[in-house]
């Protein structure tokens, strides 16, 4: 076993006077560069909040600074997923929880629309087919329009 003295204590910078710590500022800088990449190259990006060694309270500070935008979506899929656009357009706070409410994953996504919100093309095709089959059953075969393919 290594001794305790061998274990590096990570340097943490002193927060500036407005109370934002180095970690929060670093994340805000990263979000700013992700927004530039999104605007200029159309490249979406994200930050995984799970493994970040944030100090107590820093997550809340970041959340408060980013604030709430116009869109909040709640997805009911094996537990709740809450997708909130922050007050920065294109910056989304996405929290996936399991049925017990435990966080499975939490991301800041920088994208026009988080992938989890979009319907899958295969699901859409299946939905069309299912609807047409149901209509055919109700109307005795006359569904009208194309055949759904």
């Amino acid at each position: 076993m290594s001794s305790l003295q061998d274990i590096a204590v990570p340097g943490i910078t002193v927060p500036p006077s407005d109370g934002l710590s180095g970690n929060v500022l670093a994340l805000l800088h990263e979000i700013a560069s992700l927004l530039t990449a999104l605007a200029e190259e159309g490249a979406p990006g994200s930050i995984d909040l799970r493994g970040l060694p944030l100090l107590p309270g820093e997550r809340e500070v970041l959340k408060t600074v980013l604030g709430d935008g116009e869109v909040v979506a709640v997805i009911d899929a094996l537990g709740e997923t809450r997708v909130t656009e922050t007050r920065l357009a294109g910056v989304w706070w996405v929290r996936h929880a399991d049925p017990a409410g435990e966080t499975i994953a939490e991301f800041i996504e920088v994208t026009p629309c988080p992938a989890i919100l979009k319907s899958d093309p295969r699901d859409m095709r299946e939905a069309g087919v299912a609807l047409r089959e149901q209509l055919a059953e109700w109307t005795g075969g006359a569904t009208g329009g194309d055949d759904g393919r």
């Binding site: 076993m1 290594s2 274990i7 204590v9 799970r50 493994g51 094996l78 537990g79 939490e106 991301f107």
Partner: protein, 365 residues
């Protein structure tokens, strides 16, 4: 037995939607420290994954590793993955017994030669020809060698299989050794812990299914993604350690205030595991959060490493200067207002609208 239906199809038969699947793949990406953009690619790879055969051998062990994996109550990542494996042989979970069970193991080995995943739980006693633990008259040593020969990947689950664990503790009467000592020429993925965190077990299996190879390993055979950092690196009591605030007894003021457990023998600084981030019992807690020092159960020879309640060494005295005090939400309000004002200003400029005096003031901040 392994069949040809793909994983997503089987999940959908269980009523799990594509979106739920994608969500759990996002969780998997996060777990494996991959960028979230990888989630759709993980989903695609897992969708195509054929149902893999798993042979799970239980040797000198207490079955807690199996308990760890099977005791999740809600549809978690671990049971999603676990439910879609073809578990062809497992003492605790199989219905067959005796010769029929051994026939099933051999049939699976034959049908899936070179493709099955071998999971080993427990150490292997080698003293006196391995007589201390036998199954259907076959010594653990012989069964391990026979089953490993055709395995695509070998995973040692738990500290016993990874490092010998409790059976290996002094004086080790059965001559217990870890899997890696028997199969010295094979790559063994060690998933230590007494028991290991369930999502770490399933994460390793998911990695093999997704990428067709074992994850990156450290010099002790552990996946770096889960064992790359110490408990201490991620411990929420770390700010107290950094400020030299320690509990010295289990019922003193420090203990009641939730201070660092270092002086009570915490092995967090020398223990590599994911307990502090993944936690236990559906993310409820982990030993340190419950007020008990880390025992270091995922490290080699933890049982023989001295008292659980003796501090590692004296803690350094002058670390307080590194520390940033915990930040309250309140202090962010000013920054949030500044950002909101700046946004309003940017939008107004874009629309070439006149600004209110407050906007200008806030925007300069």
């Amino acid at each position: 037995m392994a069949d040809e239906a793909d994983l997503l199809e089987r999940l959908r038969q269980q009523g799990i939607s594509r979106r739920s699947f994608l969500k759990y793949c996002a969780g998997l990406a996060s777990l494996l420290a991959l960028p979230p953009a990888m989630a759709p690619r993980i989903a695609e790879a897992l969708e195509r994954a054929r149902r893999p055969a798993v042979i799970w051998l239980s040797f000198q062990e207490c079955t807690a590793c199996t308990e760890s994996l099977t005791r999740s109550f809600s549809p978690t990542l671990e049971n999603l993955i676990f439910n879609v494996l073809s578990l062809d042989y497992h003492h605790t979970l199989q219905a067959a017994a005796g010769r029929h069970a051994e026939d099933a193991r051999r049939q699976s080995m034959e049908a899936n030669r070179g493709k099955y995943i071998l999971v080993v739980e427990g150490s292997i006693p080698v003293a006196e020809g391995g007589v201390y633990s036998t199954i259907a008259g076959i010594s653990n040593l012989d069964m391990l060698r026979e089953t490993a020969a055709g395995a695509a990947a070998i995973v040692s689950v738990g500290t016993c299989a990874a490092y010998g664990g409790l059976p290996h503790a002094r004086p080790n009467p059965t001559g217990a050794v870890p899997v890696s000592e028997i199969l010295a020429d094979r790559t063994i993925v060690n998933v230590p812990g007494c028991p290991p965190i369930p999502v770490v077990i399933s994460g390793v299996i998911a990695h093999v299914l997704t990428f067709g190879r074992v994850p990156e390993l450290d010099d002790l055979g552990r996946p770096t993604v889960f064992y790359g950092q110490t408990i201490h690196d991620r411990c929420y009591r770390r700010p107290f350690y950094d400020r030299n605030l320690f509990a010295e007894q289990f019922d003193d003021e420090g203990a009641r205030n939730g201070w660092c457990l270092y002086k009570l023998g915490c092995k967090g600084p020398t223990t590599r595991n994911a307990c502090a981030t993944e936690k236990w019992n559906q993310g409820t807690s982990f030993p340190i959060q419950s007020g008990h020092p880390c025992l270091g159960c995922s490290e080699p020879d933890f049982w023989d490493a001295g008292s659980f309640y003796q501090a590692l060494t004296a803690p350094p005295v002058d670390v307080a200067k590194w520390v940033v005090p915990a930040i309250g939400v309140g202090v962010a309000a000013g920054a949030a207002a500044g950002l909101a004002n700046r946004l309003r200003k940017a939008r107004a400029e874009r629309r070439r609208q006149p600004l209110a005096a407050d906007d200008v003031k806030g925007g300069e901040g």
